[in-house]
Each structure stands twice: as structure tokens, then as C-alpha cells.
Amino acid sequence: MQQQFRRMEIEEFRIMEEPYYLPIADEVALFESAYRQHIPVLLKGPTGCGKTRFVEYMSWRLHRHIGNRDEEGVPLITVACHEDLTASDLVGRYLLEGEETRWIDGPITRAVKVGAICYLDEVVEARKDTTVLIHPLADHRRMLPIEKRGELLEAADGFLLVMSFNPGYQSVLKDFKHSTRQRFIALEFYYPSRDQEAEIVQNESGCPAPIARDLAKLAEKVRHLKAHGLSEGVSTRLLVYAGKLVADGITPLRACETAIVWALTDDKEVQGAMHEVVDSIFGE
């Protein structure tokens, strides 16, 4: 049976084709500068506003433009953080192999060794003791201590630590230690302007430009409902989904209902209000 998927080691993953990313301000220049200066970067912003896409884009861009250190570009190692993520998950652990034990590097160790961009997505989800582990890596030392092996790894030149989190989750924000925070420069992301978002939606979804503009307009309106029944505004990602449905022949009303109204909340009243907004824009 023919293999339908590609298998690779995580440090081998490189973005080889340019991902679509529309720069909103000077974030590209700032990131490049941070990369050159080995300054870790914290990306803040609501869900679906383009943080991960930005890292992918920068990984590709650094490969294209300043990736001369490595002919094949800068690898990108992404770790999706969660509350059960432990230090061993990041650094590595011993596994039993026959009567022996064998050490397996964790993703951060691999990134340190190969000089990759290590992207810790939604880092506040991880436990506090886990984030403390990265402190020596995230300052001038750029060292990763591996206690179990009694080793200290100095990061390769191309290594950069990038973290993201969503400041919308207030209770979790309280857990974000200042000693961690103050090791990063922070790039704030928010939803793009209506025109920019329309351009993104059109590009990503392939829907007609007027539909993309209306979706961006709808997003602007729905985001007013944040804290009035919605804990988060509608993400650009959901708009793209709606655009894709439309591009595939679903009516805009139905596409918005499934990709936005129902996806965002279960509260019937908020759904009702959003439905009326959708109807005001896409209704006949």
C-alpha cells in the first residue's frame, strides 16, 4: 500500500513555500531584528488573529533572506502547550530499552541543538515550573540545562525562542510569572483592519472580494459583542472558514451561521443577535 503521508524528525521541518501573511505594521522588521539579536519573542493576541501564521511566515522568510547560516532554512519546531506539559516533555527523558535506558531529546533540546525557531504555542497553558525551565535559554546565556544528564547545552546560532499567548484569558494571565515575561520582547497582535482582513479572507478562502469585505464587516460588528455574551471576538480563521464555504457554493447566510454564529457561542440570545447582524449584511 502506498504511503500517503510524510514522516520526518521534528527538527527537519522547514517552511519551504511562502505562507500567505499580510503584514499589519512593522512586526516583520521587529521579528527579524529580534532574530538577529537573539532576543526571544512573545506574541500576544486573541485566538485566530494570525500569531502562528506569522511565525511560519517568519520561519520561511528567515530562510529566504537571512537563512544563509543554513542552506535549507530555519527549522520550525512547534510545541502546543497544555496544562499537563512537563519539563520532561520539553527537554527529554530516559526510556527503557531492553535492560538499558536510552535518552530521548525533547523538542526544545532538539531546537537548541539544530538552531531552530522553537515556538511554544499558548504557553500560559503550561505549568509554571515548566516555563521556568526556559529561563536560562531566554536570556543572554542561551543555555539549556539538562538536569537528568548533568549537561548544559548552549543554543546553536539560529535558535530563537518564540512564545504565544492570548491575554483574553485573564485568570490564566495571573499565572504568567514576571520573571518569564521579562525575558521576551512582546509583539501585540489584534484583528486586522476591515480592509486588511477582507484581503486576508479573500486570499485565504478564495471567495469573491465583496463577500470577503462583508465578512470582514461582519467580524467588526460581532467583535463588539465581546464581554456581552462572547468571551472572544470572531477570529480571522473563522472568517476564512466562512469564506471557503461560500467559495464552495454555500450561501453566505448559511456559511456565516455555521462558521461564525454557531461556532462562537451556544447562548441562544447571543446567537440570535449575531444572526440578525448576519441577516442585516447578507440578507436579501
Binding site: 456581552h228 455574551g229 447582524v277 442585516s280
Partner: protein, 969 residues
């Protein structure tokens, strides 16, 4: 000598002995009557004369004078009936003599106006009334002569039948019936008046209803309905009355309101049938509440049958819709419409207020009405999103340049204004005119933006615009200038076909319409609107507000405006003097809300450096307090529940400190349904105070405080809990690791779960402590209770509540649970007071501690609304366990807490329902009363809800934390 002469002579002498004049009057009358009566009839008449003369010569005189005159209206044998009825009015007192005499004196006129039987009926009514009040009977007699003009003949019998019922059952209202009844009936369809009166008679005979009150209610209700439908509705009510007359009365009472909400009579029948079904299943109380529209089920049925949309039913969605379109600050405000066709109670503040009517029934179906609400919200929020308030004085528009410099030159004094827009408006001597023009021009611009921004609304907008134009006044009834502006307004509503204007002046209008057309460009700004309005102002000024009929020539549709008809208007001075009408700009359509320069947000205030002048002291419209009237009614009702005049003043005074009003349903156990939005609850922070009280209480109970704290600390869970058998963890569990190795050696497919971990465990409990602050808590605990101290006097129930609260707070701080402390009281359903001592998410600090000392007894105990409000707070608070503790000194009672002024069962059932609602939402309610008799009603009120009666009130501070510890364990 004939028999008749003998009869006359036999009576003459005795009469002459009483009064010589009487004998003369008798002879004169007798000679007229004799030819028309037989001997027997004449004899009867003579006997009446003798009888009356013996009782009152005045009455006898009136009778004898009237007899020949009434004879033409009566059959000979009816004369005795007439005489007899008058005679029965004469009871011997001087008042009754006057009444009887008046009756005889007025009889000729009455017979001339009314049928004989009606006069006899009237006399019977007067007789019945005279048993209670001769003055009332006399007043009714006076009114009776006007009945001919007011009550049609065919209705008269039914009217007088009702009159007799009133005289018997509620004589005090008889005058009202005779005075006002005919006028009230005039509003009813001619063919329905009699059936209506018969129906009222039947209902009032079977029930304790007061006939005139019911007549008034039903006439008022039917007056709201087109007359062709009256007969059918009364007929339906008649059928209903056969089953239950009280329910029939309620059906007709609310018919006016219901009919407005329903599109046709067929729906009314369906409404009635639903009520009938209810009657069979749930009985009359529930059905009465249904027909009063006093139950949620009634609202549900009405909504289902009706095309109209009540704001209340879509409030949540519309509020959010408004915020989505206009942003966070948008607030919807429901208000009625005043006589000038404008929204009343317009508030002058800085919020982004959208004005809406309480119901929308402009269109036949529900969706169209909801869309109309949406259009109104979109238009009014559009002013904020499309920059209506972003005008900067002196800035140019995209199409029109600023004329401010030019206009300033023509004014003698400096121009001032609180905002940029007000400063601009101050450039125009006729400010009302300018405001009206600006509103219509800017509204036209906003609607163009609306179509572009919300294409899905455009069809609905069009429908609403057309409907608005249909409601506009007849153009030729207005002054010429008003008609000019009215035409512009119609054009702004995108309905040029509705324009009418004198053909010979069409050039003026065409020019104006061209200016208005500028703001129809999608990139026009508020600056274009302002300048366009200024240009229109210049044109309007040249048009005198003379009666439109003076405008020469025929009026033609405005669509012909592009044809170069006629010329501009003649100069103002060419019109005759003294014929100008007072000018007022026509009010804009309601859906556009109020575009009021005074409500411009502070962000548009002119730059101080730029304006350099003080603000304009433009008069602001006074803000009416919608609730004030209801409060006053409650106070004026005089149903004292412990309140006094001074307290009424306090109520008014406190209006200013209230931070938040909420409305809650109340459970009506008879209707077996909720009364929607029945209670108005005002949440306010408790009065601030110093720390003395709190500290003194801690000092007084220091032993108990320490003990309670200790007990509560024991309740605190361990901070960390060890989790075993994990694939990963902080520590290796040695036993499990060895087992793992053994399994591995044995090849048994071991599970690598030999780690353990310590996880943090948090107690997640929130409690709302609700304290009864009713007037009765002012009572001393016991007459024997020693004085607490010379200053404070004997301990009162409220003092013990407060002390218990302090101890409870100390205990809760020890355990770390979230807690809120609230007090409640109030007076009537419109003024439930909810005092916040400490919110659930508020920290205990000197401010909150200080508030406890200021808790004082206030008014009544409407528990249901207070429990519902506390429940809402608990639901919003993120906790796994939510507890509501209510500390009270007696059963719930308040003014109007029930069908009667204060009804025990109603209040208890509503409180119970409120507690059940809490339970359904996962809240654990707990009631504590210090009323030794509490078992009696708590057993009924709580049933499966926990409660405790603390017979020894002084033990409350000790018991309260203990009860909580058990509840929250």
C-alpha cells in the same frame, strides 16, 4: 249633578281647608281631566290629591298642576301609575318632598322626551336611590332629562335596567352613570350598546362587579377598537359569560389592548378559545390572569397569534444587536410618544441612546415588525458609526465648503456653543428651523450609509420609509414653509413620489432637492450635511409660513421637479401681512429616533483653544423619571405598610442614589403563572460608615470569633492532593515501579503508570447572605433584655443580624469562600430595595466593614424579588457550590404582595417559587428565621428546602456560622 262633579266637590272642601290655593288648583285640574277619565279613574286621581295634600301641600300642588299637562302622553289608566310613583318618592322629610315635587314638576318634560315606560323605570330608580340618598336621586332626576339626547331610544331600557342595578348594588355610582354613562356609550357601535349593557347587567348580577366601573372599563377598552368589530366582540364575551361572567368581563376589559396586537378578529377568536381551554383545565383564576394578560402564558399566546412584536420579547437580542452595530456604549431606551409625535422622556446624557417604542405593530407579520425594530436600531446607531457627531466647526465637507466664516460675519456677537454642532447651530437665528433641517439632511445621509453597510436591511428600510411617509400629515394643511420642509423630509425618506408643491414655485423646491441630493453620495460626510442644511435654511427663510391655500396654482408631484416649471417664490415682503402661521418643523419619523444637538457626545466638544469661549447655556429638556409616577401611586394609595410621609420623601430622595434598576417576574399562584417584569428592584450600595461597629462586635464576641475561625479553618481543604498511578509525575511511586519491572520481566505488557503528582485542590464555594431589613427588625428582642448600653438602647433584631453577619464574615474569611452580603427591604412592587454591603467579588476592606454598622430597619419584606436578584448574582459568579442564606424575622409581606393589599399565601408562594428557581439553577437555598412562630409558614414555604427557626434570637451569631459550615461542608 253628575258623579264626576260630586267626586270633585267632595274633595274640594277638605283641600280648601288645607290651603285655599290647593282647592283652586284642584278644581282647575279636575275640570280638564274629568272629560278624559271615567268615574273610577277620576276618583283615584282625587284620592291621590287628597293623600298628597295631607302629606305635603307642595307636592300636591305640583301634582295637580302637572296632571292636565301629562295627560296627553298617558293612557287614562296610566295616570294612577304615574301618580303612585311620584307619591312613593315623598317620604315625609323635606328633602323627599322636594324630590317628589321635582318629579311631578318635571314629568311633562320627561314624558315629552322619553317613552312612558322609561319614565316609570326612572321613577322606580329614583325611589330605590331615595332609600339611600335623596340628593343622589335628585341629581339623577336632573340628569334624566338629558337622556333623550344622549341615549338612543332602543338602548334606553337596557340603560335604565342597569341604572336600577346600580341603584340597588352601588347607589353611590348612580350619578356617575347618569352623567357619564351616555357619553361613554357614544363611543360604542350603535348596534352594540344595548347588548353591551345587557351583558354588563348579567355580569354584575352574577358577580360583585360594580356596574358603572365595568361600563367605564369596557367602553374604554372598546373605544380602542374599530366600531364595526364591537358587536362581534361583545357577542363573544356574551358566550363566554354563559360559562363564567367574571372571565367574560376580563376578556372585554383587555380586548382593546389585545386587538391592537392582533391583526384580525379571527385571531381574537383564537385568543378567546385559548382562554376557554384554560378555563376548562385550570379554572377561573388562571383564566382571569390570562385575559388580564397578567401571565406568561397569555404573553406567549399573544406573541404566537400576533404580528406585533413586544420589545420585551426581543429585548435581549435587540440590545446585543445594537451593541454589535454601534459598539459597547449603545443603550436601548423604551419610551412612549407624546402629542407632538416625538418620543417622550428623551434623556439628555452622554450615552449612545437608541429610542424605541414598547411594541412594534406597524406591519402585519412578526418578522417585518422585528425588521422594523432592527431598522430603527441600525439607523440610530448609524449616527454614531457614520460620524453624525464628528462634526468639527469650520471643517469642509467632501462636496460643500464650510460657510462658518461667512455666517459669523453677519452676526453681531461672538458665537458660543457647548459642542461644535451647537456652536454651528448658534449661527442661525431660527434655531428650531435649522435643527429640523439638519436632522432630516443628516438622517438622509445616514440612510444612504445604512444601505451600503447593511445591504440585507435595505428592503426593510425601504418598507419602513414607505410606511413612515404614509403616516405623514396632509401637506396642504400645513403652513407653506412647513410644507416645504415636509417635502424635503419625504425626499429624505427616498419617497419623492409623495412630494406635492405648487407648480408655480417648483423651481425653489427643485433647487432644494438638488442640495439634499448632495448627501446621497456615499462619501458625503456630516460636514456636507451641515452645510447642505445651512443652504436649505437660506431657502426656507425666504418661504413665509402662510396657509398653503394661499399658494397660487395647482400642487403637483415633486417627481416633475426636473421640469422647469414656474419660478422661485415671490419675496417674503410681497405676501400679505399678519397671515403667517406659527412655525414648527414637522417631527421626523419615529424610527429615526431623536437627533438632538444637545445630546452630542463630549468628544465633539469644541477645542478650547480653538473656540476660546464659554459654553452656550442652551436650555436642556428636563428628564422625566418614568418610574416616579408609579411610586407616587403606590404612596398615594395610602395602604400603609409601615411607611410614613417622611419615608415617602426618603423614597424620592433615594432615587438619586440608585445605581441599577432590575425587573423581576413574580409568581401568581392563582394564575399558576408569572406576572412578567412585575417587580422593580433598585440595587444600591449600602450607606458608608466607620469601623467602630465592626471592631466593637469583634471585641464583644472575641471568644466566639476565635472559636468559629478555628472551626472554619478545619473545613479548609488540603492545599495539595496526591494523585497516583500516573504516566508522568514529580515522583516515582516505588511500589508501582517495582511492580512495573516485575510485569515487564514477565512479559505481561506492563503499564508505565508509576509516577505520582501533587495537585492543587481549591475549594470553590460562593455564598450570598441576604439580610431582612424590614421595619419589624427594629423591634427589641425582649422587653427584659438588659440595655446594651446607654447610647444604643435595647438590642433589636437587626442588631443581632448585624452581629451575626460580622461573625459570619470573619469565619468566611478564614475558610476563603467567596461571599456577598446584601440587605433587602422596600415598599411596593415598584420599589424593592436591595442594599449591597459586599459584593461576591469584592474584597473585605474598611469600606465594606463600615457599611455593616449602617444596616438599619427600613420598610417591608418582598422576599421573592430579593431572592431572584441574589440568585442572578450567584449564577454569574464562577463557583462549583453556590449557597443562598436568607436571614429574616418573619414571613414575607409587602404592599400589594398579593391580590389584596398584603396577602399571606401569595407572598409565601412567590417566595417559595423564587427559592425553587434558585434550586433549579444549582443554588442551595437556606432560610433562617428568628421568628419563633416561623415553623408555621416555613413548613409551607420551604417544604424540601432547608430552614432553621432560631427561637433564641440572641444565639443567632453563634448559630449562623455553624449552619453555614454544615451547609457548605
Amino acid at each position: 249633578m253628575t258623579g264626576k262633579q260630586q267626586l270633585i266637590e267632595r274633595s274640594t272642601a277638605p283641600l280648601g281647608e288645607i290651603q285655599a290655593l290647593l282647592a283652586e288648583q284642584f278644581i282647575d285640574a279636575a275640570h280638564v281631566l274629568a272629560p278624559n277619565l271615567d268615574d273610577s279613574q277620576l276618583g283615584q286621581w282625587c284620592d291621590h290629591c287628597m293623600d298628597l295634600a295631607s302629606r305635603s301641600p307642595r307636592v300636591a300642588s305640583a301634582f295637580m298642576l302637572a296632571a292636565p299637562q301629562v295627560l296627553p302622553y298617558l293612557e287614562a289608566d296610566q295616570l294612577a301609575s304615574w301618580a303612585d310613583r311620584g307619591s312613593r318618592l315623598c317620604g315625609g322629610s323635606w328633602k323627599s318632598i322636594g324630590l317628589a315635587a321635582s318629579f311631578y314638576e318635571g314629568s311633562t318634560r320627561l314624558f315629552a322626551l322619553l317613552p312612558t315606560e322609561a319614565v316609570f323605570q326612572l321613577a322606580d330608580i329614583l325611589r330605590e336611590l331615595s332609600l339611600h340618598s335623596i340628593e343622589t336621586a335628585a341629581r339623577c332626576l336632573t340628569q334624566a332629562s338629558t337622556l333623550r339626547n344622549k341615549v338612543p331610544q332602543e338602548v334606553l331600557t337596557a340603560f335604565l335596567d342597569l341604572g336600577m342595578l346600580v341603584a340597588r348594588n352601588s347607589w353611590i355610582h348612580a350619578t356617575l352613570l347618569f352623567e357619564k354613562g351616555p357619553t361613554q356609550l357614544a363611543g360604542i357601535a350603535a348596534n352594540t350598546r344595548s347588548p353591551l349593557l345587557v351583558l354588563i347587567h348579567r355580569i354584575c348580577t352574577d358577580t360583585r362587579e360594580q356596574p358603572h366601573g365595568l361600563l367605564t372599563d369596557l367602553c374604554d377598552s372598546l373605544a380602542e377598537i374599530d366600531t364595526p368589530e364591537h358587536h362581534k366582540l361583545v357577542d363573544l364575551a356574551g358566550q363566554l359569560a354563559l360559562k363564567n361572567p367574571t372571565v367574560a368581563a376580563e376578556f372585554l376589559r383587555s380586548a382593546g389592548v389585545v386587538r391592537k396586537r392582533l391583526s384580525d378578529l379571527q385571531s381574537m377568536t383564537l385568543w378567546l378559545e385559548s382562554g376557554l381551554a384554560l378555563l376548562e383545565v385550570h379554572g377561573d383564576k388562571t383564566t382571569q390572569a390570562y385575559f388580564r394578560i397578567d401571565s406568561a402564558y397569555a404573553e406567549e399566546i399573544l406573541s404566537a397569534l400576533s404580528g406585533s412584536v413586544q420589545f420585551e420579547s426581543v429585548a435581549g437580542v435587540l440590545q446585543l444587536y445594537g451593541k454589535a452595530l454601534g459598539g459597547d456604549d449603545v443603550r436601548l431606551h423604551i419610551t412612549g410618544v407624546n402629542d407632538h409625535g416625538r418620543y417622550s422622556q428623551v434623556q439628555v446624557d452622554e450615552g449612545e441612546v437608541v429610542y424605541l417604542p414598547p411594541a412594534m405593530d406597524d406591519f402585519g407579520d412578526r418578522r417585518a415588525n422585528l425588521q422594523a425594530y432592527k431598522v430603527s436600531v441600525a439607523h440610530q446607531t448609524g449616527r454614531f458609526t457614520f460620524g453624525s457627531f464628528e462634526y468639527r466647526y469650520g471643517d469642509h465637507g467632501h462636496y460643500l465648503k464650510s460657510s462658518t466664516l461667512l455666517r459669523e460675519k453677519s452676526l453681531p456677537a461672538g458665537i458660543t456653543g457647548a459642542s461644535n454642532l451647537q456652536r454651528f447651530l448658534a449661527l442661525f437665528p431660527e434655531r428650531l428651523l435649522m435643527e429640523g433641517l439638519l436632522a432630516l439632511v443628516e438622517d438622509a445621509r445616514v440612510e444612504v450609509c445604512l444601505v451600503e453597510e447593511y445591504p440585507g436591511l435595505s428592503r426593510s428600510l425601504r418598507r419602513v420609509q414607505r410606511h413612515a411617509v404614509e403616516q405623514r400629515p396632509e401637506l396642504q394643511t400645513l403652513g407653506l414653509r412647513q410644507a416645504f420642509i415636509e417635502n424635503l423630509l419625504r425626499a429624505s425618506l427616498a419617497c419623492p413620489e409623495a412630494i406635492r408643491w405648487p407648480r408655480c414655485y417648483m423651481a425653489t423646491l427643485a433647487h432644494a432637492l438638488g442640495i439634499l441630493g448632495i448627501v446621497r453620495n456615499s462619501d458625503a460626510t456630516v460636514h456636507d450635511s451641515v452645510e447642505a442644511a445651512a443652504l436649505l435654511y437660506d431657502i426656507s427663510e425666504t418661504i413665509p409660513n402662510v396657509p398653503s391655500r394661499l399658494a397660487e396654482g395647482i400642487w403637483i408631484p415633486g417627481q416633475a421637479a426636473d421640469i422647469p416649471y414656474g419660478s422661485s417664490l415671490p419675496p417674503v415682503e410681497n405676501w400679505p401681512d399678519g397671515i403667517e402661521m406659527p412655525f414648527e418643523p414637522p417631527p421626523g419619523p419615529l424610527f429615526r429616533g431623536e437627533f438632538n444637538a444637545e445630546t452630542v457626545r463630549s468628544s465633539t466638544s469644541p477645542d478650547v483653544g480653538r473656540a476660546g469661549e464659554s459654553s452656550l447655556d442652551a436650555p436642556l429638556e428636563s428628564v422625566e423619571e418614568p418610574e416616579e409616577e408609579a411610586d407616587m401611586e403606590a404612596i398615594e394609595a395610602g395602604l400603609d405598610a409601615g411607611g410614613t410621609d417622611t419615608e415617602a420623601d426618603e423614597v424620592a430622595e433615594e432615587e438619586s442614589t440608585i445605581v441599577e434598576w432590575c425587573y423581576y417576574d413574580e409568581w401568581d399562584f392563582r394564575a399558576n403563572d408569572y406576572r412578567k417584569g412585575w417587580c422593580r428592584l433598585g440595587q444600591r450600595p449600602a450607606n458608608p460608615g466607620d469601623l467602630d461597629y465592626y471592631d466593637q462586635t469583634l471585641h464583644r464576641y472575641h471568644n466566639l470569633v476565635a472559636e468559629t475561625r478555628y472551626q472554619f479553618e478545619l473545613l479548609r481543604p488540603e492545599v495539595h492532593r496526591k494523585l497516583k498511578r500516573l504516566e508522568d509525575g514529580h515522583e516515582i511511586d516505588l511500589d508501582q515501579a517495582i511492580e512495573f519491572q516485575i510485569d515487564k520481566k514477565a512479559g505481561a505488557g506492563p503499564s508505565a503508570r508509576f509516577y505520582s503528582r501533587r495537585d492543587k485542590v481549591e475549594r470553590s464555594v460562593a455564598v450570598a447572605l441576604l439580610l431582612d431589613m424590614s421595619g419589624s427588625t427594629d423591634e427589641a428582642l425582649d422587653a427584659r433584655e438588659p440595655f446594651r448600653d446607654a447610647v444604643n438602647g435595647p438590642a433589636r433584631i437587626i442588631d443581632v443580624e448585624k452581629e451575626a453577619t460580622v461573625l459570619m464574615i470573619e469565619a468566611l474569611e478564614a475558610i476563603g469562600d467567596a461571599y456577598g452580603v446584601y440587605g433587602f427591604s422596600g415598599y411596593g412592587r415598584n420599589n424593592v430595595e436591595f442594599h449591597v454591603i459586599k459584593e461576591l467579588d469584592e474584597k473585605l476592606d474598611d469600606v465594606t466593614k463600615g457599611r455593616i454598622g449602617q444596616i438599619e430597619p427600613r420598610r417591608s419584606t418582598r422576599m421573592g424579588a430579593a431572592i431572584r436578584h441574589a440568585r442572578a448574582k450567584l449564577i454569574d459568579y464562577p463557583a462549583k457550590v453556590r449557597i443562598l442564606m436568607l436571614v429574616s424575622d418573619g414571613r414575607p409581606q409587602d404592599l400589594g404582595y398579593g391580590r389584596e393589599a398584603s396577602e399571606r399565601e401569595y407572598a409565601i408562594r412567590d417566595t417559595r417559587q423564587a427559592l425553587i428557581e434558585g434550586k433549579v439553577d444549582g443554588i442551595v437555598p437556606f432560610l433562617i428565621t428568628v421568628d419563633a412562630q416561623g415553623h408555621e409558614y416555613l413548613r409551607e414555604m420551604c417544604q424540601d428546602i432547608s430552614y432553621e427557626v432560631i427561637a433564641d434570637i440572641s444565639s443567632l451569631p453563634r448559630r449562623l456560622p455553624a449552619i453555614y459550615a454544615d451547609a457548605a461542608r
